[in-house]
């Protein structure tokens, strides 16, 4: 019994495997291209080997490797056998998918337990674990949508989205160029720079600080995306109106955060500057801005996502016939959901990269802060 408890994923995977064996075949009897017997046997064998590996007295790395290979090959065979049989999967099929998912889970937890000595292996593991995790989201998505025959309109399988991405690279590239490289980048840079500059100005001129800040706080809480149609009226259909929306959206978070950051330095630190008879600008550059960095980067990170959302949604309100928001709104009307998902995938990728780059720069600049030290 304790033997079985040593890995509950392994035990359950074995159990599911046996159940699946009882409930064979994998597909409904009227499927057009049924699974080859060899394929079915192969899947069952792989899962059994993987599940048994959970209990073997071998090194963690070896067990993780066996699990990795068996879980993914089994999933690969199962999904591969589904082509032409969409919606015809039987209970047995889902039991085996679940079993291989459990093996994948076990694989991740084995990897997470490995304490490598070298930095490179450490880094590789830090990337590998979330990668396997993400892969399983896609595998389950694919297996369930195709196995159960979920209507394409509701949720296309990832493979269809990927096919659409590959076949529409020029369109997607044009959309990205229009939305990201024109509207988002321009708006983000100008909006953040303007928010920062006005924050410094407000810091110098007290009436600005007292008048502008409450308004800034209010504005950054409002759904500014509502101004998009107005911006389209003011600045026309092309990217300039989208950039304007992005500027308006990113301006206030930057303003509010920078002003808050400028008062983040300690009183003793400021007294120190005063004891040196330091001027306004010297104190600003050498003390107050470095102390404000965490706040400023906070705004930069918030704005990186806001900018992308702003530009895409703004395109719903009128645009030339290119752009990510334009594509999403027209393709959904034509029921081309795979194209919509393709745009969403591209937007997600760009958003993550954007955020990641800002976060990396932040880590490099604020390494000294207690929350970032030693990492």
């Amino acid at each position: 019994m304790t033997y079985l408890l040593r890995s509950w994923q392994g035990s359950i995977a074995l159990l599911l495997c046996l159940l699946a064996l009882v409930r064979l075949p994998l597909l409904a009897t009227d499927a057009s291209t049924p699974f080859a017997a060899a394929g079915t046997a192969g899947v069952l064998l792989l899962i059994a080997v993987g599940a048994l590996a959970c209990f073997m007295r071998i090194s963690r790395a070896a067990r993780a490797l066996i699990l990795f290979v068996t879980a993914h090959t089994a999933a690969w065979l199962l999904i591969g056998g589904m082509s032409g049989n969409e919606g015809n999967a039987s209970l047995s099929y889902f039991l085996l998918i679940a079993a291989s998912w459990l093996l994948g889970w076990r694989c991740i937890s084995e990897l997470a337990e490995i304490r490598p000595s070298s930095r490179q292996t450490m880094m590789a593991l830090r990337l590998l674990i979330p990668a396997i995790f993400g892969a399983w989201v896609l595998i389950l998505w694919e297996a369930i949508t195709r196995g159960a025959g979920v209507p394409f309109i509701l949720l296309p399988p990832p493979s269809a989205i990927w096919d659409r991405i590959v076949s529409s690279v020029p369109i997607l590239a044009a959309d990205v160029r229009q939305t990201v490289f024109k509207a988002v980048l321009f708006g983000y840079v100008v909006g953040c720079a303007a928010g920062f500059a006005v924050a410094i100005l407000a810091d110098r001129i007290s009436f600005l600080r007292r008048g502008l800040l409450p308004i800034g706080n209010l504005m950054s809480a409002l759904p500014i995306i509502g101004v998009a149609p107005i911006m389209v009226m003011w600045f026309g259909f092309d990217w300039q109106s989208k950039a304007a929306v992005v500027i308006v959206m990113t301006f206030f978070p930057m303003l509010v955060n920078t002003v808050a950051g400028l008062s983040a330095s300690g009183s003793m630190e400021r007294d120190l500057m005063r004891s040196y008879a330091s001027g306004y600008w010297q104190t600003l550059v050498k003390l107050r801005l470095p102390a404000a960095m965490l706040f400023i980067f906070n705004a930069l990170k918030i704005n990186s996502t806001l900018a992308l959302i702003g530009a895409i949604v703004a395109e719903f309100f009128g645009t030339p016939i290119v752009g990510m928001g334009f594509r999403i709104s027209t393709e959904i009307g034509r029921m081309n959901v795979d194209m919509v998902w393709a745009e969403i995938a591209v937007a997600a990728l760009i958003g993550s990269v954007f955020y990641g780059v800002v976060a990396l720069v932040e880590l490099a600049t604020t390494f000294w802060h207690p929350s970032n030290r030693g990492g």
Partner: protein, 263 residues
Amino acid sequence: MNASASSVVSARKLGLTFQTSDGPVHALSVVDLEVEKGDFVSFIGPSGCGKTTFLRVIADLEKNTAGEITVNGMTPEEARKSRCYGYVFQAPALYPWRTIEKNVVLPLEIMGYSKTEQKQRVQRTLDLVNLTGFGKKYPWQLSGGMQQRASIARALAFDADLLLMDEPFGALDEIVRDHLNEQLLKLWAATEKTICFVTHSIPEAVYLSTKIVVMSPRPGRVTDVIHSTLPRERPLEIRETPEFLEIAHRVREGLRAGHSYEE
């Protein structure tokens, strides 16, 4: 105002009242004090008696509300603007985004010293406080005592004749404290600076000072000024001599008197 030519700090009937939400707080009242050039003056007294406040008035970080004070013959503001003093705060107050070296360079950058001058001075002052080789470290990679020494180095890096130190060794253990006291005396002898030093420790005050100012709270006043008869050259063992104990006794008496006044 007839401050003598050698007077570095001269306070006449100095008073400071903080206006707080629950009424005025008399932090200092009728403080008369002369600090001569080359003096090592210690301020000792119970918590809240206005030692920090007095130092802050000298440094123009706080404004007196009564009486007069001159620093180097000028108003505190003029003295601050002409960078007459270095201030060592109760906490190190090092900037965590700068290395130790860069922290020590900070006042030099602000005061516009040349690059080569900056380099030399950082080297020299870090040697002085025994932090040679730690220049490239960040403050948070150093122990509390090392950070405090770095903050002293920072105050010594530029040419101010007056050094204001607010309980600089308050948070350190006895042995490190002894060591730093000894170094501070050496430094004082070598640089001929005038030092105003706040402490809670009677032995520390007696060991270091040429003049001990005993203060008492509510309102903050000077109750006694004791001139030390100890020689300028002071090995740590001097703390066992009858002369030392005699002065320490007087300081303790002064502190007691201040406390009994309160009751």
